[in-house]
Symmetry: C2
Subunit: 293 residues, 2 copies
């Protein structure tokens, strides 16, 4: 088994690093808060490091899972960044969802040091990270992907090589368009049902399984009906991803009217204090629009 670094132990990164540990890899960990690592550090072959550069030192693969584009830039190319110590031939694997354009730049910079870079954003949320059933969408050099793939299998069920650097990120953004527009459709369907006096459980049963069915209907529909806004995936994170989508669509002359609309409605959700709620809060926003008081 290899020595690998894992940088970023948030709700996604922590369980993902745990799967690498369970698979027998030696871990070099770094995160903003050391406390997050306590449980992992209590097990053998696992070491805390004081910076991304320290984590990357001597690692064959360097995994990163942080919130946004500037965070990844900081971890790789900032002070005491990964680029200062990553060995020639090592592979940096970025699980964060960030701008495809930034991915390409970082890949170029690492490449000048003969360090490989794969973009490998994930889908499946906290549950998928915990259960090791994430979808992982990879872009970058094919031979680097082939080397990394057996290790990625510890964390994901569906691992797809999408093409050159940035295509993993672009594929993740395709996923976020699907997710967010479908969620809006589910919200509108259920608010229409509610305002027209239908029994919502009966309605769900009647439309589920047919041409209107979707993962979002099955998972978020019941939460909308019971006004449970606890997050699977938060409005704030979805908004970050939709900004990446809309930036990339600007850059490619692509018109995305429904994606723009859902971005605006999520802004209304944030304005109403639902930023930390789950994306099903769209239903709450539409309910307010439909209120006659």
């Amino acid at each position: 088994m290899a020595t690998v670094a894992f940088i970023g132990l948030g709700v996604m990164g922590l369980p993902m690093a745990g799967h690498l540990q369970a698979a027998g890899h030696s871990l070099r960990l770094h995160s903003r808060r050391k406390g997050r690592a306590a449980k992992l550090l209590s097990r053998p072959n696992t070491q805390w490091t004081d910076s991304p550069a320290d984590a990357a030192s001597g690692a064959e693969m360097i995994f990163i899972c942080v919130p946004d584009t500037p965070d990844v830039e900081q971890v790789i190319a900032g002070k005491q960044g990964v680029i200062e110590s990553a060995a020639a031939g090592s592979i940096v694997i970025d699980h964060s969802t960030i701008a495809p354009s930034a991915t390409k730049e970082l890949g170029d910079r690492l490449g000048r040091n003969n360090v490989w870079f794969l973009d490998a954003p994930v889908s499946g949320g906290e549950v998928g990270a915990r259960e090791g059933t994430l979808s992982i969408m990879c872009g970058g050099d094919r031979s680097a992907f082939d080397r990394a793939e057996p290790t990625l299998r510890a964390m994901g069920k569906e691992i797809t090589y999408c093409g050159p650097s940035g295509t993993g990120q672009l594929t993740k953004l395709v996923n976020q368009i699907l997710v967010s527009v479908t969620t809006l459709g589910v919200s509108e369907a259920l608010i229409f049902a509610k305002k027209n006096g239908l029994n919502l459980d009966t309605t769900m049963r009647a439309v589920n399984g047919g041409a209107g069915s979707s993962w979002q209907l099955q998972r978020l529909g019941p939460k909308m009906i019971s006004a449970d806004n606890r997050p699977g995936f938060t409005v704030d994170l979805q908004q970050k991803d939709l900004r990446l989508v809309l930036d990339a669509s600007d850059g490619s002359n692509t018109s995305l009217p429904a994606t723009s609309l859902v971005h605006q409605l999520f802004t209304a959700a944030q304005a109403a204090g639902h930023g930390k709620d789950g994306t099903q809060a769209l239903f709450t926003v539409l309910e307010k629009l439909a209120s006659t008081h």
Copy 2:
């Protein structure tokens, strides 16, 4: 087995009537064009009739499957309409998708003659009608539904009692909101993928099965990729249904921003000559918006 009438032998009605025939019922048929009935008429216990009133005469149940609200009104309450001859205690079952408000009125009129009326719109398209796997969403009197249900089983797999008169239609409209907004999401996701140079088959494989998955992605995604606009369900029919949705949302003070948007984009599809194409033609419309020529 009962004597039943079937009025309207279009792409949906013809195979549905065929299932009733196969189940052993005696059929009294009527449609705008007698030619449609030829095959059914070649089998025993099946009779052509010259008007809706003639078809309904002596039938325990009278099935209707015609395109739009005025057609149903004509069949039931027009010249030589069903109402002239339907026996007290018989049940009129309307499989058409029409305005919920019209449904309630027709139910009231038939009720004054002690004739039951069920709204029973279907989902599942031509394939579902042929294979007898339709979803049937029923509104109306519960005891009438209980009497009709065993007969409906010949045509549908998922048969749901939704509540009082009109709730079957409203539930079908919920389904159409889901279907159409999801189709728009799939169109935007795939045009984004295409314009950003992703391999579309790989992209489908990466996002299918995850949080972005849906019936529409699975069925229409491949058709969009291969530019196959042959209809499962036509843009013109979807537009008719979306008009019913938006009328009902006006009447209930419900704001449906994405549903309104998809209605407008389908109007653009119709303007570009895609009215008789399948709803996946939305992708073609977005592709044109994203064209740099």
